[in-house]
Structures are given as structure tokens and as C-alpha cells.
């Protein structure tokens, strides 16, 4: 598992660096028009999405086939993607917090009251969208898997909207949404691992 994670890290390392540089340039521009804390959600989403590119890369390079010959469980190829997605998304949250705070100080907008809400939203979007994104990118081909990306984020936003309508726009609503999205993420991880164990590798 550690080796598989290391390979995934090497694969996306260069793209993460270029994504972060692009994000900082665009994020600085955006921050003049919106609350800087929005950048936390953008950073988390952009970095999380970078992990999905590994799926297609692995399929094209034949790594999926090769990794089955390793002394690891078949489901390890799935587990390492879920772990890498979570890890990179968490980096996105922290990077987003740091960058948005820096921007806030630069533009002298020091109202941090929205910070907890945007951190919650980032975590909810990460887990909710990831539970749809990751199976789509594993099971579908490159073109079709993009449908997963297009569907998962609006669904994530819809989920937050429904929860705030049901419970209200407060910390309780955000906490319950976070827990539910985390459960959904774990369920998705479990079922995709089971699927891989019991089915042929394409």
C-alpha cells in the first residue's frame, strides 16, 4: 500500500505544484470580487480533482494490470486512491485557509466570521463529491468519467442546500452534513473495494 501511495504521489506531484501556482494567480484575482474564504473550497476541489487524473493515467500506462501482480490485496489499488484523494484534499483545505487568510490581510478584509462555514463546506464537498467521483473514474472510461465530475459537485451543493433547508444554516447542520458525507465516502470506498475484489480487472 505504501508503495502504491508513493507512486500516486510521484505521479501527481508535478501537476499539484502547477495547479497551486495557477490557483494562486487566479485566486488572487477572484478575491477582489468574493469573500476570500471561497478560495478554501476552490483549493480543495482543484487538488481533489487532480487525484482523479491518476485513474486514467493508470489505465493508459497499464499500471492497474501490473499492480494486481504485486503482493497486495486487489482492493489496495482502490484504497490508495481514496487515501490519496483525502490526503490531497486536506492539503487543499489547509492551503486554502493559509492563502485566503493571506489574501484577507493583503486586501485588508479581516472579517473571518465565514471561515468555519467555508471549512465545513470544503470538507463536505470533498467527501460527498469524492464518493461519486472516484467510482466513476475507476469504472468508466475517460470521457464518461467526466460525467461523474460534472454531476458530483452540483449534487454536493444540492446536498448542502437540502440540509440547510431541513436543519437550518447553522453549525449543527454543517456538522451533520459533514458526518453524512464522510459516511457516504466510506460506503463508496467499501463497495468499490468489494467490486474490485470480485470482478475482472479491465
Amino acid at each position: 500500500m505504501k508503495g502504491l501511495l508513493l507512486k500516486d504521489f510521484y505521479t501527481i506531484k508535478s501537476s499539484i505544484i502547477s495547479l497551486l501556482i495557477t490557483f494562486m494567480v487566479i485566486g488572487f484575482g477572484i478575491s477582489f470580487f468574493v469573500v476570500p474564504q471561497v478560495l478554501i473550497i476552490i483549493a480543495t476541489t482543484v487538488l481533489g480533482m487532480s487525484v482523479t487524473t491518476i485513474f486514467n493515467f493508470d489505465k493508459k500506462s497499464g499500471w492497474v494490470k501490473t499492480s494486481i501482480t504485486f503482493p497486495t490485496k486487489k482492493s489496495s489499488i482502490i484504497s490508495c486512491k481514496y487515501l490519496m484523494y483525502s490526503f490531497v484534499s486536506i492539503i487543499g483545505v489547509f492551503f486554502g485557509i493559509g492563502f485566503s487568510t493571506a489574501i484577507s490581510l493583503i486586501i485588508k478584509d479581516t472579517n473571518f466570521s465565514f471561515l468555519p462555514t467555508f471549512i465545513y463546506l470544503s470538507v463536505i464537498m470533498t467527501f460527498f463529491s469524492g464518493s461519486i467521483l472516484l467510482p466513476c473514474f475507476y469504472l468508466l472510461d475517460e470521457e464518461k468519467s467526466m460525467i461523474g465530475a460534472m454531476v458530483s459537485y452540483p449534487l454536493g451543493a444540492g446536498f448542502v442546500f437540502v440540509m440547510t433547508k431541513l436543519i437550518g444554516s447553522n453549525i449543527l447542520s454543517m456538522t451533520i452534513s459533514t458526518v453524512l458525507s464522510l459516511i457516504l465516502f466510506i460506503v463508496s470506498w467499501y463497495f468499490l473495494s468489494k467490486y474490485v475484489e470480485k470482478n475482472d480487472i479491465q
Binding site: 508503495g3 497499464g62 490485496k73 475482472d200
Partner: protein, 284 residues
């Protein structure tokens, strides 16, 4: 009792338009077994079944004297597929670090020795490697984690004769340790004639035969005759035959006896290629 590095017993897998039909054969410890057959015969499917890439419906696959193919036994199975199956944006140096964290018995010293022996640059991305270099790289990886069984799927196809010869030499070196064994599927039967101890012939998803190579080359023959001579041949002696424009070719499995039985006919030894061709294209 003979020890087996690999044993397949009644392995079956049904697809919509193809069936791997009760495949059974063994790879005795210390031997090289060549898996032959035309495109689509089921060679790669068989190898995929051994490695767990596909889930079989029936049968049993065991390695190293009856053990299941699992995470523990895969530690000692080296695999080489056709072409590069590693991330081509990484260098051998970085991949070495990856494998070090995958295989418990990864031998970094041997890995770099092999890279050096094969003249493979450690800091060049795999996408800059030629096909031959990629194949050598795959072999270096397969040999760097104390493999006892090598499984090679079309590992020499598309390579020039010089690199192929180098690779065959490596296989022969590897087999010097009597605990080591190789299963190699190949279209290039001349390579198998050089190195294999046993030949397993798969056709239409079934094993047509599994025999020692020397027995095949020693006993099989092709009778070249006209139609009158062909009609005189006892049908029980014929495995298959082909009617060409001006002669009949008849595959027999007991060349010496047939030579004595039909002294007027011309009988030539059959190569593995010819045996395969006669089985596939000949009439029964």
C-alpha cells in the same frame, strides 16, 4: 514426488464469445514451460487468470506446491507483460523507491546492478525508453524481488533478434537455480525451441497438448506425400493433414514408427511452428 511451481486444474472462464475451457497444466519446479497458440487462443487469458486479473468460474490455480496465489505468494512471482506497464512519467530511480515499499524482499542492490547490466539510465523517464529498453526494465524489476516463478506474457514480441537473444540468455541464467521456474507465452516458437523444457499448446480456449519439448521435436513429423500415398496411410496414424496444391502434408506423432510403416513416403521432423500450424489449420 515432482514439485510444481505452478499448477492449473480445470480452470474455466466463460465470456460472451469465448470460453477458457477447463485449462489444466503444470510448470514443474526448475523448468521453463512455453505456452503457445494463435492470437485469441487463450494464452493471455490463462495468464490473467493465474495472476488474479480475471475471476475464474471453476478450477484451481496453485503455486509453489499447492499454495494459493495470494499476496504472500505473489512476493515470489515476477511478471513481465508485453510492452511497458509502468508509469512512463517516472524514472527507474523513483520506481525503485516505489517497489522497495511494495516488495518485502526487494533487493535494491540487485535492481541497480541489473539496470547497469542492461545499460538502462536511472534518471531517464520510461517514456524516453525504446521498446527493448522497457522490456529489459520489466525483466530487471521481475528479477529484483527474489522471484522463484517468472510469468512472461509475450515478453519477446516486437524485439529485434539481438535483444531477444539477450533476454533468452537471462532466462537460461535464471533457471540455473533449481528452485526457479518460468512460464512464458510467445508467438515466436523458435525462441521456445531454444529454451523451453515443456510446451503447452492452447487452441480455442482448450489445452490441445502439454508435452516435453524434446518429445515433440523427436517424435512428431510431417509426411509429405501424393494422394495415392495419402490414401494408404492408416487414419489412426494421422493427427491432422493439409491438402496443398501438389501434395498432402500429414502430421504424425510417432515419426520413427511411421517411417518404418511407410518406407516410400518422405517424413521430415516437425518444428513447433509446423505442429501448431497443422493442429490449427489442418483437417482431422
Amino acid at each position: 514426488m515432482e514439485k510444481y511451481a505452478l499448477e492449473l486444474n480445470g480452470v474455466t472462464k466463460q465470456y460472451k464469445d469465448f470460453k477458457l475451457d477447463s485449462i489444466s497444466f503444470t510448470v514443474p519446479q526448475g523448468s521453463i514451460v512455453g505456452l503457445i497458440g494463435e492470437n485469441g487462443a487463450g494464452k493471455s487469458t490463462t495468464i490473467n487468470a493465474i495472476l488474479g486479473l480475471i475471476v475464474t468460474e471453476q478450477g484451481k490455480i496453485s503455486v509453489f506446491n499447492g499454495k494459493d496465489v495470494n499476496a504472500k505468494t505473489k512476493e515470489h512471482i515476477g511478471v513481465v507483460f508485453d510492452g511497458s506497464n509502468y508509469p512512463d512519467n517516472l524514472t527507474p530511480e523513483k520506481l525503485g523507491k516505489v517497489f522497495q515499499n511494495i516488495y518485502a524482499e526487494w533487493n535494491n542492490k540487485k535492481y541497480f546492478e541489473l539496470l547497469n547490466k542492461f545499460e538502462l539510465p536511472i534518471n531517464k523517464k520510461l517514456k524516453e525508453f525504446s521498446k527493448g529498453m522497457n522490456m529489459k526494465y520489466s525483466i530487471a524489476v521481475a528479477l529484483s524481488h527474489n522471484s522463484k516463478l517468472l510469468i512472461l506474457d509475450e515478453a519477446t514480441s516486437g524485439l529485434d533478434p539481438i535483444i531477444r537473444d539477450d533476454i533468452l540468455e537471462m532466462f537460461l541464467d535464471f533457471i540455473q537455480d533449481e528452485e526457479h521456474s518460468i512460464l512464458v507465452s510467445s508467438h515466436i516458437t523458435s525462441d521456445l525451441e531454444k529454451i523451453a523444457d515443456y510446451i503447452v499448446f492452447i487452441h480455442g480456449g482448450k489445452v490441445l497438448f502439454s508435452k516435453p519439448k524434446d518429445e515433440l521435436l523427436e517424435n512428431y513429423g510431417i509426411i509429405k506425400c501424393n494422394s495415392t500415398q495419402f490414401n494408404e496411410i492408416d487414419k489412426s496414424d494421422i493427427i491432422s493433414y493439409r491438402k496443398l496444391d501438389y501434395e498432402y502434408q500429414v502430421l504424425v506423432s510417432n515419426r520413427r514408427q511411421v517411417e518404418q510403416k511407410y518406407p516410400k513416403t518422405m517424413i521430415v521432423p516437425a518444428s513447433i511452428d509446423e505442429i501448431m500450424l497443422m493442429y490449427v489449420k489442418g483437417d482431422k
